[in-house]
Structures are given as structure tokens and as C-alpha cells.
Amino acid sequence: MEFGLMQLWEGGWVGALLRGASVTILVGVGAMLLGLATGIACGLIKWARVVPLNWLVDIYTTVVRGVPELLIIYLLFFSSVELVARIGTAFGWAGLAETGYPFLIGIIAIGAISGSYSTEVVRGALAAIPTGHVEAARALGMPKARIFRRIILPQMLRIAAPGVNNVWQATMKDTALISVVGLQELMRTAFVGAGSTRSPFIFYLVAGAVYLAITFVSQSGFKRAERALVLKGRA
């Protein structure tokens, strides 16, 4: 039974897979940050019921959570090539826009998807803050900004932490989907290697193992962060 282990090693694919894994992590982190920023903004809009913005946010979350991620990626990849390139140029990344085009599109696409889930987590966390706290703060005459900074934000972060962990796990796995539009991340590298060596089994097995490793490491990281947050909260 030809498992192809030798081909994996000899073809220099190990290096390529590691490089792919680093791209995966970069895209995942980038998308997660973009998604969190979007999620906090949209979650606040929905919680504060800022009309008509919250209707837009509703449309955004409904569409992105109801339509398959693959379809959204195809849409962004096939159509908004120019928009992405211009955004890239605006940030002074003109060079990146060409060579890193799939990279940018990957972050934006996965970030948009991640953002819709983050929005729900943030909104749920904000809704879980006891209204009594905010009322008491207002009664004390605290200005709005300080209420947000001292009362709302810390509690929101703490309550949202497990939800954010879930969104992160989902975001990391969603990055595999950008492989279908050609970004050289982990899944794509495995795909190319599988095709050229004709040994798909070992390649996808290794890819799966790497994703598992990333999941495992981030799980333990999150557990430690959660413990730190809880301790801080007690003080």
C-alpha cells in the first residue's frame, strides 16, 4: 500500500506545508481581528438599536449566516477584485494587492463571515449585562463614555470570551475554504501536493493533523486566558 510518506519527505513538501500552515494562521488571525472589530461595532449598533443602521446589520448577519461560506467566497473572489485592490492601495499595500491579492481577499472574505458570528456573540454578551449596573452608573452621574469603558466593556469581554473562542475555532477552519480560489495556504498546498504526487491520502491526513494541532494549541491558550480574566474580575 503506497502511503506516499517517502514522496512527502523527498519532494520537499514538508517545508511547503509548514509555509502553508503559517499563511493559514496569518489569514486566520487577520480575519479574526477584522471580524472582531466588525462584530464589536455591529453588536453595539444592534444592542443600542441605532436605527436604521441596525437594520443594515440585521441584513448583514442574516445573509452571511444563512448563505454558505463557499458561495460568499466565490462572490468576493470573482467580482470584487478591483475593490479589494483599491482598498489595498489605500493602505499603501499596492505591491501586496498584486502578489498578496488572494491573501487580502481571504482575510476580507473570512473576516466578513467571522464578523457576523462575532456580532451575535457581542450582542448576546451585551444583553447579558445586568441592566441594574448601567442604571446605577447613570444614577451616579457617570458620563456615557466612562460607563462604557468601566462598566459595559469589561463585562462584555468576560461574558463573550467563550463565544469568541468558538468563533475563533470556526474562523480557523473556514480559512481552508479560500484554497478553492487559489491562496497558497495549508489546504491549497496539500491539494497541489496531492495532485502532483498522486498521493492525496497522506497529504490530507497531514493537513488535518496540522489543523488539529492549531485547534489544540489555541484551545489551551484560551483556557489560560479565561482563567486570567476570571481572576482579574474577582479583584
Binding site: P68, L71, P200, F201, L205, G208, Y211, L212, T215
Partner: protein, 227 residues
Amino acid sequence: MDWDLLHRAVTTIGKGVGTTLTLASVSLAIGFCLGLGLAVMRVSGNRLMSGFAEYYSAVFRGTPLLVQLFLFYYGLGQFDFVRENPVLWWVIGGGTHCAIMALALNTAAYTSEILRGGLISIPVGLIEAAKAAGMSRALRFRRIEFPLAIRQALPAYGNEMVLVIKGTSLASTITVLEITGHAKRLMSQTYAIFEVFTIAGIFYLLINAALIFAVRRIENRLTSPAR
């Protein structure tokens, strides 16, 4: 407004709706049974069984569905012993069957977590009362634990069902012509990206909306006001 194009898009993509629904329903059915079994294994006292269930869940929830799909379709399809075995080849050989298997195994892992949450949320007092009343293990499970777990798990399971519907779109990467498969093909031929995406998206939104509506109805029925 290109009506010809819209008409073509709706009829072509509509052809995929049946496949999407078949993929989702069969995977959910198989996945639910598997997930239930895994959940029971997980809460059982047996170390071997609960360990297996835990690892199964971690592996299938910790890797992307796309990797699992390709591993089964291309990876297993590489081996002669699979190609020559008629049963195995019936499962892995065709895109549709393979996609159903991958989706079922995947949703089983998530379902087992959801049902496990349902099972351990049952108040201990109820179980003790059932034991005191002399109910056998099987009877206790059938009349007390299972119904209560299902009711508790229903909202989360409704979510999972929507995720499975979305997961069927990945079957398009292994030649299955469900909604996304037809949409992608149409996009390649006509370059009418936005229009095709909108039509396909609407199909999915309608299916998911109907699903959520049905789940909410069942939820309301099950949690009828206490007498």
C-alpha cells in the same frame, strides 16, 4: 434587468435544490443516530467508550469539513483495496454518497456534543426518582432522559441543521451538482457573478428560513405551558 439571464439562473440553480435537500436530510438522519450513540457513550461510565467518543468529537470538530471531504473522496479513493471493494466503492466512488458520508460523520460529532449537553442538564432528582420507581435503564432512557435531552438541545440542534445545509455546498468541490455546484458553473459560463450569487443565496436563505421556522414550531409545541 436581463430577464433571460435571471430565468436561466433560477431554472438551472433550482435543479440543485433537490440534491441539496437530499444531501442534508440523509446526512442529518445518519448523523443524528451516530451522534446519539456517541453522546450515550460519552456519558457512560466506561472509560474506553467515553474516551473514544471524546476523541472522535475532538478530531471531527477540530478539522475543517473540506479536509475531511477531500480525505475521504481523494484520499481513500487512491487505494486499490477501496476501489475494488464494491461496498466501499459504492460509498466513496460517487460524489453524492461520499459527501453524505463525510457530512454525516461531521455532524455526528457536533450532534453528540449538543445531545451530551442535553443529557447532563437533566436534573439528577428526576433520574433518582425514576430509579426509585424501579424503571429499568432502557425504560429510563426512553421515557425520561431522551425526551428531556431533546427538548433542551432543540435550539442548538436547529442551528446545527442550518450548518449542515450550508455544509452541503462543499459537495460542489467533488463534482456534486447541488445549488452551489450549479451556481459556480453558471458563474464560469456567464460571468454574471452578482446575479447568480443573489439567486443562489436566496434559495439557501429560503431553505434555512423554512427550517428555522419549523424548528421554532416544534420548540413551542414541546415547551407548552406547564399545567
